[in-house]
Symmetry: C2
């Protein structure tokens, strides 16, 4: 039985404070829960409709499952429409992340919109980026809207939150690193020679990369404009930079 | 005075049926209305706060303006928050569009999400695309969410709705044309040589390009994947195709 106490617990995980207290987060909807079941993330509790249960029975053997109605799923989760499943999942504890030899790490400085962040995770995953470092001011990775917008990519990307400029300063002390950032009026990304490893920084939706991080950028690049739109969305910018990065291969 | 009858009229334009009946649409918010004032689109009525009026007085001389409160703007428009302006604008009557020499036209087959459509218009505008042809099933260009998401690019892009396969068949009869579409497992867009002019087709969010249009595609391209995400959002795909298209320049 799905008790009142459990309901209160599940609903509390919609809020960051309680996610952090319990070190648990919510994964909702058929696509995201399917990806979750194929990952190594640990599921504490799965709520699902009898239909979802029947379709996925083999994968659910070792999981604590409660079968509930679509209406109950929607009442306890954040999705307007959810006829499949909702999972309570244990957070991973990621250690500080760094770029290995021949690896690029994506760095997000103050991304505020959960939809943008989730989209960026999906794009990073498409382009084979496995690590994302976020400023402390970046929206919570475990926000249900981020998880939903990532379309399952939250299962494959490692995340680390930190104060970016201090973090980079410590890395720089240990040896040369390349920190690439997108700006206006810098080197055209179409002609830019990406180094073999490093960090690609994307900045806030309105203000771009903050001053304290900008000082540490070693290579400034620009997405060339051929028409009249004033700017590109940060998700679009991420995709174009990563597509250009991968062309060299 | 902003009469009850005017209120009813403005509110009715949130709905496609009434937009078509009156051949008018709504433009809301500071950024979009600013872009509108810099365009050649004809404004029938501008509702704005005294603050917006004071800041833009010179541009408003020849326009019928009513100054109203933020609360009234929000009551009569679709934006949750609007402390600037709302305009009632005459639709343009676009003739059938075709690709000129050295020109590419973007073609949208059954794009359903207004946010995606608006984002695509913004990207098209960034990459200097001036014409977009849409299947009849594509969401209404004049939907307030499309206008908002286009971030002003709705003022610079010409739109034409039609039954795509018949439209292309008529063009093909008149002479050779190149119709490029994105598919899985086709030629890598990183190595694809774009022709000098033609049509770039993007398909529905879930199902891609429809069969009747697919038959007419002359060049199939693929955005290469380096990681594990299953797919890219259609706005992201548009940006990557157009960025690759513009590299040749």
């Amino acid at each position: 039985m799905f008790s009142k106490q459990q309901q209160k617990y599940v609903q509390s995980l919609q809020i960051k404070k309680y996610r952090q207290e319990h070190q648990r987060f919510l994964v909702e909807g058929a696509k995201s829960v399917q990806e979750l079941l194929n990952s190594d993330l640990e599921i504490e509790l799965l709520l699902c409709t009898p239909k979802f249960y029947a379709e996925n029975e083999k994968k659910l053997e070792k999981i604590s499952v409660e079968q509930i109605s679509q209406a109950e799923l929607e009442k306890n989760g954040t999705l307007q429409s959810n006829d499949a499943a909702l999972a309570v999942v244990k957070m991973r504890h990621n250690a500080p992340l760094t770029a290995e030899k021949d690896e690029f790490v994506l760095v997000l400085d103050d991304i505020r919109d959960p939809g943008n962040f989730g989209t960026i995770l999906r794009i990073a995953d498409w382009y084979g980026i496995k690590k994302v470092i976020c400023s402390d001011s970046t929206v919570d990775f475990y926000n249900p809207k981020v998880i939903a917008a990532s379309m399952g990519s939250f299962t494959r990307i490692k995340i680390y939150y930190t104060e970016l400029s201090k973090y980079f300063e410590r890395l720089i002390k240990k040896g040369n690193i390349e920190i690439i950032g997108t700006f206006l009026d810098s080197e055209n990304v179409h002609h830019f020679q990406f180094p073999s490893s490093g960090y690609i920084v994307l900045g806030n939706e309105s203000n771009g990369i903050g001053e304290s991080v900008e000082k540490l950028i070693t290579k400034k690049i620009t997405i060339p404009r051929f028409g009249e739109a004033e700017s590109l969305n940060v998700g679009i910018a991420t995709a174009i930079v990563l597509d250009n990065f991968r062309r060299r291969e």
